[in-house]
C-alpha cells in the first residue's frame, strides 16, 4: 500500500517537475541572454540592483540587537550598518522582513533581494549558494538555559531536548556536537525562547550577542550557561552573479572603518566599540 503510494508520488512528482521545468527552461531561455549580457559587463566593475537606485535588503528581524522590530520598524546594528553602506554607495536602503532560513535562497534566487544582512555566519557551504562580503562582526555561540535549570554543563546537554533557530549556526553546532538530543528547530527566536520557558526544551543555542541582549532585556529568567568559542563572523550575502556588489560593499565597509562610522555604530548599539 505504502509502496504503491510512494511510486505514484514519485511519478507524480517527476511529472510535475518535468512540466514546471520545461516552462522554466523556456522562460529562462528568453531572459537569460539579456541578463548574461548585462552581467558579463557588470561582473568586473558594475553591480546590478533589483530596483535601480535602491539597495533591497532582506533580514530576519528577530535577533536583537542585531536586527529586530519595534513598532513595525526594523532596527538594529545590522540595519544601521547596511543603511550607512547604502549611503556610501549613494543608494536608498529598503529593508524587508524575511524568514531566516529563506535568506540564502532568496538572495541566491537573485530576483527579489540585492543582499541580506541578518547576523549570517560566514560559512563555506553557504558560500556555495551566495557570495559573502568581508566579515563585519565577530561572534560566538551561547548555550542559554532557564535560571536554576538542572542542566549545569555542556555535557549535561546530551540526551536533552534542545532548540535552535532553523538554519542557524547554533542548529549546526547542536546537531554536530551534542549526542542523542531531541532537537527542535524554530523559525523565530521568540518562539524558541517561549518554548524554553515552558520547559519543553532544556536549552537553546544561538549567537552570543543576541543571547546576551535577550537576557538583559525581556528574558531575565534565562541565563547563559556557556559561551561556545566558535570565532564565527558575520557577513553580508549577495548573489554570486553580483560579486561586484560585494566588492562595493567591502569598499564601503573599509571607508566606514576608516572614518569612524563603524566605531560610532558599535558605540551606539553595543555601548562599546568591539
Amino acid at each position: 500500500m505504502l509502496k504503491g503510494k510512494f511510486s505514484k508520488a514519485a511519478v507524480f512528482g517527476l511529472a510535475c517537475i518535468a512540466v514546471v521545468g520545461m516552462l522554466a527552461l523556456s522562460a529562462c531561455g528568453g531572459s537569460s541572454q539579456s541578463s548574461s549580457a548585462s552581467s558579463s559587463s557588470a561582473a568586473s566593475d558594475e553591480y546590478t540592483l533589483v530596483t535601480p537606485g535602491t539597495l533591497t535588503v532582506a533580514t530576519s528581524p528577530d535577533y536583537a540587537p542585531m536586527e529586530y522590530q519595534e513598532n513595525g520598524e526594523i532596527k538594529g546594528y545590522d540595519i544601521a550598518l547596511i543603511k550607512e553602506v547604502a549611503k556610501h554607495l549613494g543608494l536608498n536602503a529598503d529593508v524587508q522582513n524575511q524568514a531566516f532560513d529563506s535568506l540564502v535562497t532568496q538572495v541566491a534566487g537573485g530576483k527579489t533581494f540585492d543582499c541580506a544582512i541578518s547576523a549570517i555566519t560566514i560559512d563555506d557551504e553557504r558560500a556555495e549558494q551566495v557570495a559573502f562580503t568581508d566579515a563585519y562582526y565577530d561572534s560566538n555561540l551561547a548555550i542559554v538555559v532557564l535560571k536554576g535549570s538542572d542542566v549545569t554543563s555542556r555535557d549535561a546537554l546530551n540526551g536533552q531536548a534542545i532548540g535552535a533557530q532553523s538554519g542557524s549556526s547554533g542548529e549546526a553546532w547542536a546537531k554536530e556536537n551534542l549526542k542523542d538530543i531531541a532537537y527542535t528547530p524554530f523559525q523565530e527566536t521568540p518562539d524558541m525562547l517561549a518554548a524554553l520557558r515552558t520547559g519543553k526544551i532544556k536549552a537553546v543555542i544561538y549567537d552570543e550577542p543576541a543571547a546576551a541582549y535577550s537576557i538583559a532585556h525581556e528574558y531575565d529568567d534565562c541565563d547563559i550557561l556557556e559561551v561556545i568559542p566558535t570565532g564565527e563572523q558575520y557577513g553580508i550575502i549577495v548573489n554570486t552573479d553580483n560579486v561586484a556588489l560585494a566588492e562595493a560593499i567591502n569598499n564601503a565597509l573599509a571607508e566606514m572603518q576608516a572614518d569612524g562610522t563603524i566605531a560610532r555604530l558599535q558605540q551606539e548599539w553595543f555601548g562599546a566599540a568591539k
Binding site: Q129, A135, Q187, T230
Partner: protein
Amino acid sequence: MAAYLKPVLKHGLVTALALSLVLTFISPLLAGAMSVDVTTAKSNETGTGSVLGGEPTRVTWEALVGDGEQVSAVRVELPEGSSITDDSSVKVTVLEGTTRLSPENTAVMNKGDASVDVSFAAPLQPGQRLRLEMYKVSLPNVNGEVTLSGTYTLANGQVLDLAPSPAIEVTHASTAEKISNWLGEQPAVQAWNSVTFLRLFFQPELIVSSIPIVAVGWLISLGLVLVGFPLAIPIGLIAAFMKIARARILHVLAAIYTGVVRGTPLFLQIYIAFFGLPLLGIDINQYVLAIIVLAVNSGAYLCEIFRAGIQSVPNGQFEAARSLGMTGPQTMFYVIIPQTIRRVIPTMTSEFILLYKDTSLLAAVGVMELMLYSRSIVSLTGNMTPYIVAACFYLIVTLPLIRVVGNLEKRLALADSGGSAPKKKGRKNRRGAFAQMREEIAVNTEQAAEELQEQVRIEAHVDDASGPLDMDEALDELQDGAAVDAQIADADERGAQR
C-alpha cells in the same frame, strides 16, 4: 580579512612576537601538551544526524595550546581512506577565550595523504584555541569510529605527536543518498541545475534524498490528523446537540465554544496551548497536545456542519419516527443522524482536508511534522526543493479526497433531486463516514454496472420521478466510483495539468 575590525590585533601580534622569543627557550621545560578537544563532522546525510563515509562533509577540529607551549605549526592527518579534493577548503580560526584573533597563517591541504598543514607567522600562545574547519573532505567509507591524528611543531622546532582526537562516528551511505550522489554527477542533471530556479526548487538529487525524510514527517502529519479528526467528530456532535438543545445554558456553552474556536486563528490556539498550558503546570506530550488542539479546533467546525446537517433533515422524518412511538434519542440516533452523515460527508471531507493541511501550523511550535521535516532540510541546504517534495506529500492525500468530495456532492445532488440513489449507498450510513467513503470509491465497477441496469429498469417504471434519468451522468458517476487506484491516477493527472 577584516583587519580593520581589530585595532587590538596589532598589539596582540607585537606582544606575541616578543613573548614568543622568550618562551621559545623555556617552553620545553614546561609540562602540558596541545590537547585536541573537539573533532566533529557535520552530518552529510539529508535530514538525519549521520555522517556518511566516502561523501563530502565538513570536519571541525579544535585544539587548545598547552601550558608553556608555543605552537608554530600544526599538521592534522585525516584517517586512512579519507580524501581531499580540489573542492576542499580549510578555514582557520584562532581564539583567545571567546575573542577571535587573526594571526597570519598559511594553510595547505595535501591531497596525497589527506592532511592539512597550518603554520603561523607568530606561534600560538598557551591557552589559545585553534579551530580548523575542513570543508568538502571525505572520511573513510566505513561503519564505525574514526579519529584524526597529527603532529604539531613548537616554536623551537620540536615536533610532537598530537594526542588522538575524540572519535567521529561514520556510517555507510544509504541507498537514497547513493542515488542522489549519482544523480548529482549526471551531465543532464548538472545542466538542469544550472538554471537557478530549477536548482533551487526542483533539484533532482535533493528530491531523491529528501523523499525518505519528508515521508517520515508525512506519516506523522497523517497520524496526527487521523487520530485528531475522529476525536473531533464526537466533540462536534455533542456541541451540535447542545446547540439545538432546548436548555439555554447548553446552547450558550456550545455557542461560546464554537464562537471562540472559529473566531480565532488556529495558529493562535496552537501558541496558547503549547506555550500557555505548560506554564499552568499542565505538561502534556507535544504530539498528544497537537492532537487535542486539532480535535478541539475541528470539533467546532464539525459542530456547525452537523447542526446544519441535522437541521437539513426534513421535519417529516422527526414526525414519522415520533409517530411510531420512537423516543427523542432513538429518533436522533436511528433516523436523523444516519441521514445527517450522508449529507455532511462532503463537507466533513473538506474539513478533513483543511485540518490535514493545518497540521503544518504546528511547525511553529516545534512539533516535528511534514512541514518541519522539510524545513529542516531546507535550512540545511538553503534549497527550496524539500518544500516541493512536501507539497507533493500533501497532494497525495488531498487530491484524491478533493476528487471524492466532488463525486459525493454529485451523488448527493442526484439523490436529492429524486434521481438514482445507488443501492449500496443507504446501507452504509450507520458506519463510519470514512469507511463509507472508502467503500463507495471501491465499489466494484461490474457490480455497479449491474446496479445501474437494475436502476434504469426501476426508473423506467417509476412514475413520480421528478425527471428522466440522464444515462450519461449516471454512467459517469459509476466510473467515478471505480477503484481507488484509478482515482488517484486520475487525480494526479489533473494535478499535473493545473
